[in-house]
Structure formats: structure tokens, C-alpha cells
Symmetry: C2
């Protein structure tokens, strides 16, 4: 069965779970009401189904290649990219003054979700550009904005993020690339960067690299890092393309998946760059870029989960095998049904969390209310890590549902599993997300967590009247998690880190239950059955996770390096 | 770091966890005492380290190919195979009268574990032959035994298993291949078989296919299936090779991993075959072959877990990143340490369970005691499913520990993850294993389960004196699982199937805790720290799993096919 963009599921979540009407109720986003949402989801969904999904396999079979220094992209990707650009989907949330649509991030993320399910390799390209647009909007000079934003938003040019160096991965502060002032306001950028997603292509006129580098005499660590715009071709003031810059793709990585996306080693050899933001202020600009990119990566996981889930259900409903009752297809077997129900229930939970995060970002942007900002910040690592864990788990279960066929590449089930694997790693590994959650995001003493859990409890209180058997365990889990949060906040940071992943998972499980409970309250019988399954079967994992969190770091760190190496 | 066969860990488990001395205490296996075990593990370990492990990457990079009907194997595989054959490792447990060593299955499995960690693709070849040897020993005529067994045991010839057809996967009874009597005692075998591991090669003189097919007028389903020996070259009575048989490799599959192992579509076109076992008795012979193969596949998962774990630890101990205390390597981060400790603790648990199963098989063979037979039967699906789940989880965590490098194929972390994926699928998917456990293996009313859990409780009782804080939770979990088993036995089969996977996982967790507790009792401090980690952090999963089991199938099957397809 070909991929079908989950338009109605997203619409349901916007309307019934995450309260999107609050976003369209603000003055800023007043135009993004119900009709607009329908038009966008329908139109983007159609593009995903008809144009992007057919590129999924060719991207895997015919990886991007580097030929004489030129990147050749997978067959059909140029046309697919053009469709995305011409649909206006890259700059949906960008400022209208530069050609964007000024729409809520919620809608950008909904479209990203659908594009990711259709063809993750290609979708990664506009995701990078979206991050760059946002960084420039917040931090670049007016000249740079005027020159670059219209081209990035239209898709004529695209953007990349250049952070990582061989010795500087999660520890960005260890980077060594240099920026020497040229005396004319520009800088000479030199150094090697790795893991540059879409480092080059053969379908945009220009590729705009945002590069982190160090000015001479900068302090060590993250406080001595600055951000530079380093375009492949140096544009004139009118946007016309000038000289080739001194940068090149050294090689492309041979990866487990995502073959359609060229992952480059980039070499900058005195390339001309322009400062973005203040000197030594690169980390702040990078975090602007990374925060929404983290949510975007969470939605990549969810998009792949959706696609892998659809793919597995179609196979299971069609494949006759064994003495199954009913239709005789393997979907009638309880253990297969359990896998498929888990896949669907988790995809719904993860999508709801990610969309709740997007709504919080929009509300923060529209209202300036610090509570929304705090909520968005708290939900981001959960949306990223849980979304991508669900992506991996659903894709792995999709392979399993296919049986032997799952291991054969022709079915496409394995590709989902290989492609989505990196989403748990890039934009900060899921371990880094968990550390961010229990570290930085609990520095408010647990206020943001408490506010979320109060909402879960309130929802459960309301639901008790009509859905007591579902509401009780949700209320109880939220209460337990609240107590756990108070306990965790009182621990030293080192203690918290050993508990970080389990805490993040527990929080996601509870937020997922909250979403399912709301879905059950909508009166839709199918959604109530799925909610019952989730709350009966998956929510109880919280019990074990709480025990793990309470273990802290002691049992973990007691296992010595020597114990492990032995 | 190159792979190092876990000789001392296996030796520790044999001596301190699974009571191997009971095996060498029998008359049948009296020669397989301590010195013999040392010699075997050391010798086989050296071959794995020096000869097989270097074949791991070449097998992935240069898959087996089909050229003009001939399978060309990966570079070095022929030499690797010769080393395995010449070491006598294929027929270790085969009967001495045909050239085997007559050693316990426990030792064969230990060597298989090490070979799997070194190079899974190649190890799959002798694993298939071992299954065939066993099937022939139990079911073949004296003529076939005399002709085939010496060649299979020496490795001059190798064996395959031909069960699956496009419409007959888990449901073997649906197969359609035909066997027509030729009138001279042989049969003409016709049909297509898929997923034939090592369907052909360029390093053995002959390839012996055991093929399931239907005699004319046989009843439908599994009761009408017979087993045939169908060699690639028809041997004369003296074992010299005669005419090419009418069978061929149609194609090789393009798989997610295990590229070094040629997975063939085989076509039999009136090929000459010899009946093995009685007419219509093919399933019994196949189960002989499959039962130990299932344990063997469990050990494939464990072998890969070992290798992936070693690989990840080495990387984490070397990779400097961030403000980690101590050495500054990422192994100092609590979340990385947690992943590595989980990997090591789970590998130990899974290996202990698999070796306990092997010991039970040996004790059943040596003593004929039905209790040992029942224990082996009960442990087999657990060893297979848990061993391969651990293989997948550890390999996935290994990728994660490597960060971005994990997604790049050059590091080899991704290959472990891709290769091991199929182990959860072949020889009966893990879902099938779980259904076998709660179905067939509980048909004794729970007697075998009860006997195992009593042993766990007894072990915990003894441990209470010196290791109370570890013993208490193990005792409690075993008690809980005992009650759960009584409850499950009282349920209808359809109810049990929805609970099957969770029950299997819970049982594995408890058996793993039993093994860790024994390890802690050995007085080795490092093992005690790892046991503490396992019992504190991983055993509590039982709580959630028990809740899942008690949910049965109701919430699962309430989610309709239409709900899922929607």
C-alpha cells in the first residue's frame, strides 16, 4: 500500500488534543483558522502522496554520489524538491516580509511530519533550511536578511548547519574551525566540518552554509564561538551569483540509511564568510536553529512511524498465514494485533506530544507569555527523544510484522528502520535530550513540569465522570510522576543524569496517556478502543520507569570502566 | 578494538551459573570435563579472534553473488569455512561413529556463540549443517546416515533446510512442493523454496538440501508433509560425486544485513530425493532440526550482543567528549554508562539462559529424565526470543553509544544491528516463540515453569544470608511470576496469546536475575556490581510486564482491523 498522509489524524489532534484553536485565536495567527488548516493539510498531503512518496525507494537504491567534486542527487529528488519549494512549504512560518507565509510552527510541523513519512531523505533538506531561516530572522543583520531570506524561503537556495568537527560532536565547545577578519567586514573561514546533511546538491542555485568557528584570541569553549554565513557562491547585493567560494565537499558518508541525503565532510579553506549575530555569540544563534530543529527531528521520527505503521498494517491485513480466525490474515493473530496496536497508539501519543510542543512555541511567539516559552522548552527534548524512539520502535516492529519479508529490502520495511535510526542521534542524541530535560529544563524547580502534570490531572478529573476506568490510571500516573519530579528536583545533577532517560520516557508515557484520554473523550469509538489499549498496556511501563528513576546514578556508576572493559 | 571471544565469561557461566558439572558428571559426557572444556573454548576462541572476526566487514561489503547460476561467496569465507571444518567445530556434538566428537550440546553452543560474535554470516552455514546432522541422526535410514553424515561432519559437504515457500512461512502446513515416487525408492522433488540460507556456495564439494514436500494424495496441512534429502550432486555409494541434480539457485535476496550469507530462492524441477523418516512424518524430523536450531539462533543473538558490546565499550572508553569527569571519555557520562551496563548485564543474562537450556538438553540426552526434556523444551523459546531481542537491543545501543559515527558504516556498529535483525525472525519469529511458550509449553499445566521458578526461589533463599538486598527482589519477582503462571494456565489459549510476548519477557527477566544472583554469590566484586545493576534497574520491568500479561487479549483484540487500517 502506498503512503497516505495522515491528514485526518493530524487534524483530529489539532482540534481535540492540543487545542490549536488557541493559536488561531491569537491576533498574530488569526488567519490560520480552520479553513486555512484544511487547505494546507490537504494540499501538502496530496504532494506527499503523489510526488514525494514515490521517491522513497529510489533514494535508497541510488544514493547521492560525489563525482569530481559535484554532488549528484538521487533520481527524482530535484523534481520533488521543486514541488516542495513551489508549494511554499519551506517558508511556511517565515516572515511574510521576505516571502514567507507567517503561519504557525504547528502547521509547519504538521507538513514536516507528512513529508518525513513520504520521503525522509529529501525532507531533511528543507528542514535544514527552515532552521537557517529562523536563525537568520533572529540574529542576522538587515543586509544578510534582505539578501538571503527571500532566496531561502522561495527554495532557490537552501541552507545547512555546520557544527560538528571530528573532535567536537556533542561537545560543540571543542570545535577548532577558524575565522580571520579580512579587514573588509568579511572573515576567512577555515576548517573541516563533518556530518553536514545536504552539504551540497544539484538542484538549488546556491547552498548557504551556517558555520560555527572561532575568532582569533577567542576564549576556549562555547563562549568563544561565532556564527558565519558562508555561501557556496558569493552573491552580489542583488542576489545574483558571483564567484565560487573556497569551500568544497571532501567526501560523502556511507551510511546505514538515509542514502538519498548526502552527508558531507566539508572543507573550508579561507572561504569568505559574514558574521551572523555578535562576535562570540554563535551558541545562542545555534540554539535558535537547533531548538525547532529538535522538534522537527522528533516529527521526522513520527512521520516515519506513520509510514512504517501503514505499511505493516497493509501487509498484515493482506498476508494469509496459519489458522487465524476471521479473515485468515496475520492481523487476526493476537500477537500481531498487539504489535500493530502498539505502533498506532504510540504514533498517536508521540504526535500529540510534538504538536503540543509546537502549539506552545506558537503561543509563546504570539503572546510573549513566559509560561508558554517554558512549556515549549520543557516539551522539546521529550518530543525529540520520544518521537524518534517511537520512530525506531515502530519501524522495527514493522519489520517484525513482515516476517522474513521484512529482512528483504524490496518490501521497504527495512528501509524505514535504517533511515529513522539517525534521528535518535542527530540534533543532540536522545541521551543528550534526557540530560537537557533533567538538567536545564528542571532548573525552574520543576515549575514547567508541574504545570503540565496539573493539566493532565485536571483532564483526568473531567474524564472521570464518563470514562472512569481510563481516567483513574492516568490521574494516578500523573500524581506519581509529580511526586517523582519533586524528588528528582531535590537530587544533585550527577544523580539525575543516571535517571534521565527513564524520567523522559515516563513523562512521555504520561503525556501520551493524556492525549489518548482526550481522544477517547471525543466520542469516537475507534479512538476510545486505542486509548483503552494504550492506557491498559503501555501506560503501566511508568511503574518500572519510576523505579529506575529512583535508582538514580548509584547502581550505574558503581559498574566501573574496568568492569565494562573486562 | 577487534573482537575477543568471551572465553572466560562462558567458562564462568558453565561453572558458576548453569551447573555444567552435572553434564560432565554423567557417564555419557564423562570425557567433557574441565580440561576438555578449557581446551575447546581456548582453541575455538583463538580461531574466532584470528580467522573469523576479520571476515566480518568483507562479508558485508562484498555480499555473496550469483553469477551464471553459481554462487560466489565473500572474500575469505572459503578459508574461514575451512578453519571451522578442520577444527572439527561443525560436528562437535555429532556421533563419534561418523566422525563426530560426541561432545555435549553445551559446548557446541558455546563455540557457536563465539563464532556468531566473530562473523555471523559465515557461522550460519555450519549452524544449518548441525541441524541437518541431528535430523539425519534421528530420522534417516542407515544407508543415508552412512553416506552423508561423515561428509557433513567433516565439512566436506554442508547442509541446508528447505521449509518456506512464498505462501507457507510460519504456516509450514501450507506448503505445496511435490514428491513423486520414481519407482526405484527415490522421489522426484518439484517446487520452489525461499529464504534458503546458504542455498549454495563455492567452498564445499556438495550441498545437501533437506526439503519438505508432499507425496501424492497426502492429507492437507502438516500431517501430509514428508522430508527428503536432495543433494546438489548425487553421490555414489562410496561418497564420490555423480550427476548434477535438477535443482538450482534462482536468485539471491537483497537483504538488510547478513550480506555474506547467500539467501537463495531454490527451484527443484524433478530433482532426485531420498525419503528421510517415514512418509508423512516430515514435521517430526523438522522439529528435531528446528529445536536446537532455535537455541542456536538465540546464541547468534547473544554472540552479536557480545561483539557489539565490546565494540561500543572500546569506543566509549576512547572517545573524549564534553566535560566528563575521570578520564574525560564518554564512558564517564552516567547515561552512556547506563547503556553499556545494560548491554553487558543483558548479554550475561541471555547467555546464562541459553546455556541453561543447553545443559538441560545434554542432561536429557545423558539421563533420559523427562524433567530435563521438559525443561529444555520450556527454555528453548525463551532462549531464542530473549537471546535475539538482547542481540537487537544491544546492537542498537551500540550504534547509539557511537553517536554520529554509529550511523556511518565504516565503524561496523551499524552492521551488527543490521545483521542481527533477522535472528528475531527466522527459525520461528519471536512472536511464534512466545505463542509456543504459552501454548504448547504450558500444556503440562505449568509444571516445567514451576520447577524453574522453585529453583529461582531456592537460590534466592540461599542468597538471603549473604546478599539479602539482591536476593529479596529476585525471590519476590519469582513468586509473582509463579502466581502469574498459575493464572495464565487457567486462561483460554486465545487469552494467552495476547499475553504471550510479555510473559516470555517477564520469565526471561526473572531467569536473568537468577543468573546474576548466582554470579554475585561467586564472590567476584565486578560481577556483584553488575548483578546489583541488573536487579535494581532491569528486573523491575517485571512489574509492568505482569500487568500486561494480566490484560490478556481483550484490550488487544478490541482494536479492530478497521481501527488499524483507518
Amino acid at each position: 500500500m502506498p503512503y497516505r498522509a495522515p491528514v485526518s489524524d493530524i487534524r483530529f489532534i489539532l482540534d481535540n488534543v492540543v487545542g490549536y484553536d488557541r493559536v488561531s485565536g491569537t491576533e498574530k495567527f488569526a488567519e490560520a483558522g480552520s479553513d486555512m488548516v484544511d487547505a494546507i493539510l490537504t494540499e501538502a498531503g496530496r504532494m506527499c502522496d503523489d510526488i514525494l512518496a514515490p521517491l522513497q525507494r529510489p533514494g535508497d537504491l541510488h544514493p547521492a554520489t560525489l563525482e569530481n567534486g559535484v554532488v549528484r542527487t538521487s533520481p527524482g529528488f530535484a523534481d520533488g524538491y521543486r514541488a516542495i519549494a513551489e508549494g511554499g512549504w519551506i517558508g511556511m512560518s517565515a516572515s511574510p516580509e521576505n516571502g514567507g507565509m507567517g503561519l504557525p510552527i504547528s502547521l509547519t510541523m504538521a507538513v514536516n511530519d507528512m513529508m518525513s513519512g513520504a520521503c525522509l531523505s529529501l525532507q531533511l533538506n528543507p528542514l535544514m533550511t527552515q532552521g537557517q531561516i529562523e536563525a537568520l530572522e533572529h540574529h542576522a543583520s538587515d543586509e544578510i536578511k534582505a539578501l538571503y531570506l527571500p532566496k531561502l524561503i522561495s527554495g532557490e537556495w537552501c541552507g545547512t548547519m555546520n557544527l560538528t568537527e571530528p573532535q567536537a560532536g556533542s561537545d560543540v565547545g571543542a570545535l577548532r574551525s577558524k575565522a580571520e577578519p579580512n579587514g573588509d567586514g568579511t572573515y576567512a573561514i577555515s576548517g573541516q566540518k563533518i556530518y553536514i546533511s545536504w552539504g551540497d546538491n544539484d538542484f538549488t542555485e546556491n547552498v548557504c552554509h551556517l558555520v560555527l568557528a572561532r575568532l582569533p584570541d577567542s576564549v576556549p569553549g562555547t563562549k568563544g564561538i561565532s556564527l558565519f554565513m558562508v555561501p557556496k557562491f558569493i552573491p552580489g547585493d542583488d542576489g545574483s551569483l558571483g564567484a565560487r567560494n573556497n569551500l568544497r565537499v571532501v567526501s560523502l558518508e556511507h551510511k546505514m540509511g538515509l542514502h538519498g541525503s548526502p552527508t558531507a565532510v566539508m572543507e573550508y579553506d579561507g572561504a569568505t564568510g559574514w558574521l551572523v549575530g555578535p562576535e562570540n555569540g554563535g551558541m545562542a544563534a545555534m540554539f535558535t536553529m537547533m531548538n525547532n530543529a529538535r522538534l522537527g527531528v522528533g516529527l521526522q521520527g513520527i512521520g516515519v512511524a506513520e509510514a512504517a505503521g501503514q505499511h505493516a498494517v497493509a501487509y498484515a491485513a493482506d498476508r494469509k498465514q496459519g489458522r487465524a480466525p476471521g479473515t485468515g490474515a496475520i492481523i487476526e493473530h493476537a500477537d500481531v494485533r498487539r504489535m500493530l496496536a502498539t505502533m498506532k497508539a504510540d504514533t498517536f501519543a508521540a504526535r500529540s506530544i510534538a504538536m503540543a510542543c509546537a502549539v506552545a512555541i506558537d503561543m509563546a511567539n504570539a503572546t510573549g507569555d513566559a509560561n508558554w516559552t517554558a512549556r515549549a522548552a520543557f516539551l522539546t527534548p521529550i518530543a525529540k527523544a520520544f518521537g524518534t524512539e517511537v520512530g525506531m520502535n515502530v519501524a522495527a516492529a514493522g519489520v517484525q510484522v513482515h516476517g522474513g519479508m521484512g529482512f528483504i529490502e524490496e518490501t521497504g520495511a527495512a528501509q524505514y528502520s535504517r533511515d529513522v535510526r539517525v534521528t535518535a542521534i542527530y540534533e543532540g542524541t536522545n541521551g543528550i535530550q534526557a540530560m537537557d530535560l533533567v538538567g536545564r529544563k528542571l532548573m525552574d524547580g520543576g515549575a514547567a513540569a508541574r504545570a503540565l502534570l496539573e493539566e493532565v490531572c485536571d483532564g483526568a478529573e473531567v474524564a472521570k465522570a464518563t470514562h472512569a476506568s481510563l481516567a483513574e490510571p492516568v490521574w494516578h500516573a500523573a500524581e506519581t510522576l509529580g511526586e517523582l519530579t519533586e524528588w528528582l528536583v531535590a537530587q544533585e545533577l550527577t544523580e539525575r543524569f543516571g535517571a534521565a532517560t527513564a524520567y523522559l520516557e515516563a513523562f512521555a508515557r504520561v503525556l501520551g496517556a493524556h492525549a489518548h484520554l482526550k481522544a477517547a473523550m471525543s466520542g469516537d469509538d475507534a479512538r476510545q478502543r486505542l486509548a483503552t489499549f494504550y492506557i491498559t498496556r503501555l501506560l503501566p511501563e511508568v511503574t518500572s520507569l519510576v523505579q529506575q528513576v529512583r535508582s538514580g546514578s548509584e547502581d550505574v556508576m558503581a559498574v566501573t570502566v574496568e568492569d565494562l572493559v573486562a
